[in-house]
Symmetry: C2
Subunit: 286 residues, 2 copies
């Protein structure tokens, strides 16, 4: 049996799985202080029976460098108590099993690659557009990492001609993509969720344009086969089609692999986080 932990800022989703990565049991534990939350998580996991490994897909920023003494830590977060928390170390020690560890978005990317929209493909980028905007790239089954993990939400799109007034909500970059069209940024500038704005509201075109620019840039820099757009904002009716159409227009029929490049919805929905965590655990089995 392998365990997975989707570690989020408001809740931890925890599950175990047997032959496949589909959880046979799962629970949700609110995110409070690390000691309390992690004790509840590991207590629940112990009750499920013996496990061989645990995977953690965590909110960030996190340290992913296997050579760093801080591997598996949450690093600089304003979330009370979680700054510099040794998430992988505490969980691994409490359970006495190997730990797989990555970001929440990389976990979801891995899940979609192996079990969802990326089945049969060689490469996939998963982007979540919600409270924040982030993305992860999986190529040939491997999660791309470098000096750290990607922070795709902090790319700067060109401002739309209709959209010059909002200065942006990102404390680091102002009007980067996350500062312009994350869920909270949309709420702040237009006073509602995107899905609650009327069909003819200009927000729909602006959000689609910026996401299409992200997709174009992902194709230009990584040549990935598919881009999976998930997260709460993407639940807006018609948004995915608008993004596709705009990305096509921006691309100008140029990329050599364009016939095989697609922009699609997730297949695993909100299950991707836990499935990805379990897959990270499965890969950590010694």
């Amino acid at each position: 049996m392998v365990a997975g932990i989707e570690a989020g800022g408001t809740k931890f989703v925890v599950g175990v799985a047997k032959a496949t990565v589909l959880p046979t049991a799962r629970t949700v534990i609110p995110t409070t202080r690390p000691a309390e939350t992690l004790a509840a998580v590991t207590d629940w996991l112990r009750e499920q029976g013996p496990i061989r490994a645990v995977g953690i897909a965590s909110f960030g920023p996190v340290e992913l460098d296997p050579a760093s003494p801080r591997w598996g830590h949450i690093t600089e977060t304003p979330k009370p108590g979680w700054n510099d928390c040794d998430l992988a170390g505490i969980v691994g020690e409490a359970l006495g099993v190997p730990v797989g560890f990555d970001t929440d978005v990389n976990g979801a990317a891995l899940a979609e690659f192996v079990y969802g929209a990326g089945k049969g493909m060689r490469s996939l980028v998963y982007v979540t557009v919600g409270t924040g905007i982030g993305g992860g790239l999986v190529v040939d089954g491997r999660i791309l990492s470098g000096a750290g993990h990607p922070e795709m939400g902090h790319f700067y799109p060109r401002r739309s001609a209709k959209d010059w007034n909002f200065i942006g909500a990102c404390p680091y970059h102002g009007d980067c993509l996350e500062g312009l069209i994350s869920g909270p940024a949309i709420q702040r500038r237009w006073g509602a969720r995107l899905s609650d704005l009327p069909d003819d509201h200009q927000a729909h075109g602006i959000v689609a344009d910026y996401l299409a620019q992200l997709c174009h840039t992902i194709f230009a820099l990584t040549a990935t086969e598919t881009i999976v757009l998930g997260g709460g904002v993407m639940a807006t009716t018609g948004l995915l089609d608008r993004v596709r159409s705009r990305a096509n227009a921006i691309g100008g029929c140029y990329f050599p692999g364009r016939a095989r490049q697609t922009i699609v919805a997730p297949q695993l929905g909100s299950a991707a986080g836990l499935v990805g965590a379990i897959e990270l655990g499965r890969r950590a089995v010694k």
Copy 2:
């Protein structure tokens, strides 16, 4: 002995190497029609003695999908005679050896990763800023590919406040990066090479800003450790420092791995193309 061919639009640089990838002999053959050029290339290689494999780093666009019947072809190029040319097939058949094949910029990225600025690193992006602008990503010794190869020059930077008049020279995208600051675009808009413009000319700041935006976007999307900026335009005095400084400002001290992220000059200079081609050949040895 392993052979390498750097296949360019104006010349083919060809060499052979023994124990290392440093060429022990090299020659330059002008690019005319495929039959003529490739006969000269393979004749010269045969004269060097028995070889075990050949690597080709080619101008593009090219087909890199190993599952495609057109793998190793130059695809849609306006260059007379070269459209749909089976470069890898013709060379491999003439020499009777296995062929390694990739783009010229991926070859240079591989060379810098293995033997140059990337030594000891896990990931590197090589960008060339010259007649065109292109980039390649190498992670853990593997060249990233997806549906096709990256086309990093076709990312759209935000236009600088001082730079609204030029519509851009890219036939597909207008004012994408390549359309704005490739060597020919610089020549067209300012009537000179960047290195020949006076130090206080606004072109220096504009070019640095757009390249810094590319670097920021590469860090955001790939988290790579280092970015190597090469090509003729980068020979401009002071440009690399300007790009670094501007990229730092844009980044806002945000990326988790920023302490390990650098923007550097190539170490192999113009040798990178041939060295990369030989390395592609070395990897094709059966």
